[in-house]
């Protein structure tokens, strides 16, 4: 309803939210915030506010979907109606269906699913407020929720986008940047240098693509550090709780 600023990056290479080109938005993580779930996490990344919860491993409903040799992994990424400027209808959109699929596929290689044959592990991601890069924020939270649920993981999955805005390569695009520029979210298991998600829309030369990929990987590594800190803090909490009892 208001006019967009003419430029998203000023002459000093500072972005509209005050960040440098290669700077992540501030990230705040909390674990174990949904009482009913086996594991859960909350993330704020800039204005993104996202919950992730894991239920399982548990019996599969409907039963005929159960896999004989590993856990069935399911994922639902969902936006609250009030999470965006124009109210979003509650029924899942095609965009949400696609994102649910790529998130499931990006978390799948991190899970020792073969430990839990004939069960399901259900991941729910609820976007309470969206400002660009929600799939990455959602992945960060969901991977932590899996860890919080005590599910054995090969590695945490970190996620971060790089992209191109007004001729600059930038890290971790916010909403206005995402709308205007080229966005390339990736997910990474840093220990294995394994890129488990990669999407792009916009325009990049082959060289820019390689640079953006390197930038996104660096972003993931920073995210990974924050994820591990959050997990450590959670274990300390648990330990204290146990010792207090």
């Amino acid at each position: 309803m208001t006019k967009k600023p003419l430029t998203l990056i000023n002459k000093k290479n500072i972005r509209v939210d005050g960040r440098k080109l290669d700077e992540l938005r501030p990230i705040k993580i909390e674990l174990n915030i949904i009482g009913n779930a086996n594991g859960s996490a909350y993330i704020e990344q800039g204005k993104n506010k996202i919950l992730a919860a894991v239920y399982g491993p548990k019996e599969v409903h409907p039963r005929h979907l159960a896999l004989p040799d590993r856990a069935l992994l399911r994922c639902q990424y969902h936006m609250s109606p009030f999470s965006v400027k124009e109210r979003k209808r509650p029924a899942p959109s095609r965009r949400e269906t696609e994102i649910s699929k790529v998130i499931r596929e990006c978390l799948s290689p991190s899970i020792f699913g073969e430990y839990y044959p004939r069960t399901s592990i259900d991941i729910y991601i609820e976007v309470l407020e969206a400002d660009g890069g929600t799939r990455c924020s959602g992945i960060i939270a969901a991977s932590l929720a899996l860890a919080d649920a005590g599910i054995p993981l090969r590695d945490l999955v970190a996620a971060c986008a790089a992209g191109k805005v007004e001729e600059h390569l930038v890290l971790d695009l916010n909403g206005p940047e995402d709308n205007k520029g080229t966005d390339m979210p990736i997910a990474l298991m840093p220990t294995f240098n394994a890129v488990t998600l990669l999407q792009m829309n916009g325009i990049l030369t082959t060289d820019e693509f390689e640079q953006a990929l390197n930038l996104a990987v660096k972003g993931c590594e920073q995210v990974y550090t924050l994820q591990k800190e959050a997990l450590k803090a959670r274990y300390i909490n648990v330990k204290e709780e146990v010792e207090e009892e």
């Binding site: 309803m1 208001t2 949904i34 009482g35 009913n36 779930a37 204005k47 506010k49 919950l51 919860a53 239920y55 548990k58 639902q76 969902h78 609250s80 109606p81 009030f82 999470s83 965006v84 400027k85 124009e86 109210r87 509650p90 029924a91 899942p92 259900d122 729910y124 991601i125 609820e126 309470l128 407020e129 969206a130 400002d131």
Partner: protein, 266 residues
């Protein structure tokens, strides 16, 4: 009977006995609320928002304002709609898909309290009579289900309405132009909703999920600013006798003061 059914029944007996003794398993008295936490204005993308915790029950309400057409029989009034989502993130018993009967009942009970008390001044939401009005979407999301979802949702909805602003605008040649600045949503009344549950002829306030499994019937009563009742809903497959109904109304009247303080003076 399976082993887990036996354990469950034992637990149910324990809950009931404890209530008969006047003290609940979590230490509360029969008419005590769990700790109520209310935070408002937490969602920037929403015109209004509030999150309410009743113990471990966690409900968020976001308010969006759109522009739409009025109902043909109410050409001078804005439109208000309440929707709730029991998404599987909040409970292993919730399923994805269109709202089920419990979600629909909750939406409609919250809607009734707001509508019958004329809480929102819908006439102020008319832009061009018969053609364009503001549409208020009250969207309730359950984030963790630990019982008493209706009260939590009603508190959050009223708090979110009180937190709602909408853009200033002017009308020029039947076109709506957004101006700078915001106006507070005109809220004229503050309906307070209390659910009173019946367990073995005892009345209980703010039941937890575990308690709800033992409860046969509930009365949800909404009271407006003047002290009048503006909505009631009995739910559950048990019954009330007249005496208990009147007691429930009395109990509600005792409770609304505290709740109103939490919401309105927030």
């Amino acid at each position: 009977m399976t082993f887990s059914t036996m354990i469950m029944r034992g637990r149910h007996k324990q809950i009931a006995q404890s209530i008969l003794s006047g003290k609940r398993l979590d230490g509360r008295g029969l008419t005590d609320y769990r700790e109520i936490k209310l935070v408002t204005g937490i969602i920037e993308s929403a015109e209004g928002s509030a999150r309410v915790y009743l113990g471990k029950t966690d409900v968020i309400v976001g308010i969006k304002i759109g522009i739409g057409e009025p109902f043909p029989d109410l050409p001078n009034k804005g439109v208000l709609t309440v929707n709730s989502e029991f998404r599987p993130i909040a409970s292993p018993n919730f399923r994805a898909g269109p709202p089920g009967e419990k979600s629909i009942e909750l939406s409609r009970v919250v809607d009734r309290g707001i509508r019958e008390s004329s809480a929102v001044d819908l006439e102020k939401l008319c832009i061009i009579p018969g053609k364009k009005v503001f549409v208020i979407f009250i969207d309730i999301s359950i984030l963790n289900h630990d019982g008493n979802l209706i009260d939590a949702s009603a508190i959050a909805s009223l708090a979110a309405l009180l937190n709602t602003k909408f853009s200033n605008y002017e009308v020029e040649n039947d076109e709506i132009k957004i101006k700078t600045g915001y106006t507070q949503l005109p809220v004229l009344n503050h309906p307070i909703t209390v659910t009173v549950a019946k367990i073995e002829d005892k009345l209980v306030i703010d039941p937890s999920l575990e308690e709800e499994r033992v409860i046969g019937a509930k009365l949800t009563i909404t009271v407006e600013d003047s002290g009048n009742i503006c909505a009631i809903q009995k739910s559950g497959s048990d019954y009330f006798n007249k005496q208990l109904i009147l007691e429930a109304v009395k109990l509600t009247n005792e409770k609304i003061g505290d709740l109103r303080k939490i919401i309105v003076e927030d």
